[in-house]
Amino acid sequence: MLHRSKYKVLSEGIIECLIRVCGISAVVFVFAIFLFVFWQGKGLIFSGEFEFWKFLTTKEWYPASESNPRYGVSALIAGTVSVTVLAMVIAVPFGLGVALFISEFCSPKLKETLKIVIELLAAIPSVVWGFIGLTIMNQLIMKLFGAPIGLTVLNGAIILALMSVPIIVSIGEDALQAVPDSYREAGIGLGVTRWQMVYKVLLPAAKNGLLAAVLLGVGRAIGETMAVLMATGHAVHIPFNAEFPYLHGLDSVRTLTATIAAELGETARDSSHYQVLFIIGILLFTITFVVNLTADLIVKGVKGK
């Protein structure tokens, strides 16, 4: 039996204790985030004059009005939804296409290069994306579509698409890599073409992982702040209506995230306007929580392996 000094045994105990405490830090922080954001917004929630249903469904957002402030976020939700949906329409085919290409069709060397490019694309800060939207994309959209202003749903969606492609590609590629090679061999043995392989073998086999990839992209798009704040034109407006094409890409909108970023600095602490911004924060936290949880459950299965 090796002899160890009491000091060493004790210090080891302390370190292991510390490791365990840090181990649960993530859980603590997730709870803390919810609690503290809720804490700041609770005054209004329990004040009696706040009706959650009205908050969600009315579209009048006049938080700074002296006589009759109204807090309806449906136009802001419509802004978030429109930008996210259009971004996904662009990013999903593109992202899954690149994931398929990287995983199945390209040489190992090209694969390495592409992965590095995608990683760098993911590293570009959101404020730089916003700046690109504000300057380059703005000019481009005005020229191409003859729109009076280029800061629109379309602008924000393109920027968000570029931002969520990397996450879709990397998770999607993992999902495709997880498809056993025996599936591919069986396909080749039956003499399928490349496209039959993709449609009949790979996509069905990897569908859960690919769905999770898309969901994580959606989560990223909903939560993005600076880029949409700078690129979508900042007008409280619902871009949907009954006229074709139903979603009007050249309208300016404002999202939930952008509203908090733009208005929090100008509100007095503990005013109802201040508190309503924290309630929007709780709403955002809940939405992204559900999206991420769903993505994780899809990947790992409900029972957890």
Binding site: G23, I33, F101, A123, V127, I132, L134, T288
Partner: protein, 270 residues
């Protein structure tokens, strides 16, 4: 597909560089902003970003690395571990503006730090924690199980094994994650907007110790937002040059982590 990926990236960077060219110089980094931020350089913002990144790194790195050690070396396969893993994923998915609200509620108001470098760094640290946890975990799990078993069979304790065998064999992988944290923290804007970063703060030119822990500061990402949206009449080249420098810093740091990773892969001992 490949071209569709690479070409826009190069075009964007190229265009940014082209527009920024008239203002870009070494002096631009070390000069103070002048004339309501319409002229001069970005020194206070550059320095502020440096402070925020370093302090958030000092806070997040030990917690993140230890959390990853717990998850990879101690945790058993049960529902509790699954909850921790879920929390890590969700922490990574929380919108950055919600982190800002959290930082404002917890650090600025509740902890009484006020809007300060420390409060902003703490917010950034919480936000970037999942980056460090995820990459450290990956680095640790790359060390073969047989290494640990060999060590345990010699009668070495769990923690001694981690310190003597697991950590030395994964240190470069852990470093990669820490570098990624730096790049993430440098680029974030929303979490620091309401927790310690201001539009303008006067400091001395080239003064490295300009900010105290409880001072407010400027930051590159916030500065780019300010001069491109809030200040009228800024000549085009100034925000473009700021964007190029921010982008340059972030991409350089990221490139460093990629190079390190390739080095690890080619020099692996097992």
């Amino acid at each position: 597909m490949t071209l569709a990926m690479v070409v826009p990236l190069l075009l964007i960077v190229g265009f940014l560089l082209y527009k920024a060219w008239p203002a870009l110089s070494i002096d631009f980094v070390f000069e103070l902003p002048k004339n309501g931020m319409r002229e001069g350089g970005i020194w206070p913002a550059f320095l502020g970003t440096l402070y925020l990144v370093l302090i958030s790194l000092v806070i997040a790195a030990p917690i993140g690395v230890m959390a990853a050690i717990y998850l990879n070396e101690y945790a058993k396969e049960n529902w509790f571990t699954r909850i921790i893993n879920l929390a890590v994923i969700n922490l990574a998915g929380v919108p950055s503006i919600v982190h800002a609200l959290f930082g404002l509620g917890a650090f600025v108001l509740f902890a009484g730090l006020g809007r300060s470098v420390l409060a902003a760094s703490l917010t950034l640290a919480v936000m970037t924690l999942p980056v460090i946890i995820a990459s450290t975990k990956e680095a640790l799990s790359a060390v073969p199980m047989s290494f640990r078993q060999a060590s345990w069979n010699m009668g070495v304790s769990r923690w001694q094994t981690i310190r003597g065998i697991v950590m030395p064999n994964s240190v470069s992988g852990i470093l990669t994650g820490i570098i990624l944290q730096v790049s993430r923290a440098a680029g974030e804007t929303a979490p620091i907007m309401f927790t310690g970063v201001v539009f303008y703060k006067a400091v001395d030119k080239g003064d490295l110790l300009a900010y105290g822990l409880l001072d407010q500061c400027m930051a590159l990402a916030m500065h780019l937002y300010t001069i491109s949206t809030q200040v009228p009449g800024v000549p085009d080249a100034v925000p473009f040059a700021t964007a190029v420098i921010l982008l340059g810093v972030v991409l350089l740091v990221n490139a460093l982590s990629i190079v390190l990773r390739i080095y690890i892969r080619t020099h692996r001992k097992w």
